[in-house]
Amino acid sequence: MAKIKKKERPETLIPTASMSDIAFLLLIFFMVSTVFVKERGLNVTLPRAAEIEKIPRKNAATVYVDRYGTISIDDMVVEIPQVSIIMQRKLAENFNLLTAFRTDKETNFGIMSDILKQLQEANALRVSFEAKLKR
């Protein structure tokens, strides 16, 4: 009886030498593309809403208003009469300015009303009220 020759199988191997290169590439990509939030802002609890849309980061100027009525723009605490001047300056820099409000849901609307009036005076009419998605 003839001896059946054992078929020699080619060794199957996944080349792992370049694995770390891929991983490092991805790592560097994520590290570079991560944008850190520059503003510290104020501690606010946002209201919830269903009809929310994305706010373009480029044109947005964030105004923080906390529950005690403290207003913060660019990490500077400002008083209501100053808002108009600051927003005018921002509008001069970017014509498509959109003011994004990060206001605490417990804030009195009176303060918001005063700020909105300041925005009207500055002619910065595009606003957005930031909210979390209602579930």
Partner: protein
């Protein structure tokens, strides 16, 4: 006399675990990265009333009044309406008259949360012309 050849240890950095380290870092960055996508309710404010040339006179029949008091109750054309009925009522009004402008007023003592909730409902009802009054 024959000297025994000293056996040199092969010097090398173990690279087999390199990919493990890289992937670990990658996963760390992937999970800790928080994308700061802002979302909110967009609105365009009416221009300041001091700009006389931009002042728009509206016919009385083209104005729907929506008021929010300090308790969060909503009045539609001076009649108190529950929040869950507001959407269908406003939708009917807007469908009947596409030129309808909603004059939206909120009490100064009211919470910002109530105002956002009502604004959300108004936008959900398809109202496009919302005039946010500052008083």
């Amino acid at each position: 006399m024959q000297f025994k050849n000293k056996r040199k240890n092969l010097s090398g950095i173990p690279t087999s675990s390199m990919s493990d380290v890289a992937f670990l870092l990658l996963i760390f960055f992937l999970t800790t990265t928080k994308f700061d996508i802002k979302k909110g309710l967009g609105l365009v404010l009416p221009p300041a009333s001091t700009q006389a040339d931009k002042k728009v006179r509206l016919k009385q029949e083209n104005i729907t009044k929506v008021w929010v008091n300090q308790k969060g109750q909503v009045a539609l054309n001076e009649e108190i309406v529950p929040l869950n009925e507001l959407e269908s009522k406003v939708r009917n009004i807007v469908l009947e008259n596409p030129d309808m402008v909603i004059s939206f007023k909120t009490d100064r003592q009211s919470k910002y949360d109530y105002m956002v909730r009502v604004l959300d409902v108004l936008q959900a009802a398809g109202a496009e012309k919302i005039s946010l009054s500052t008083n």
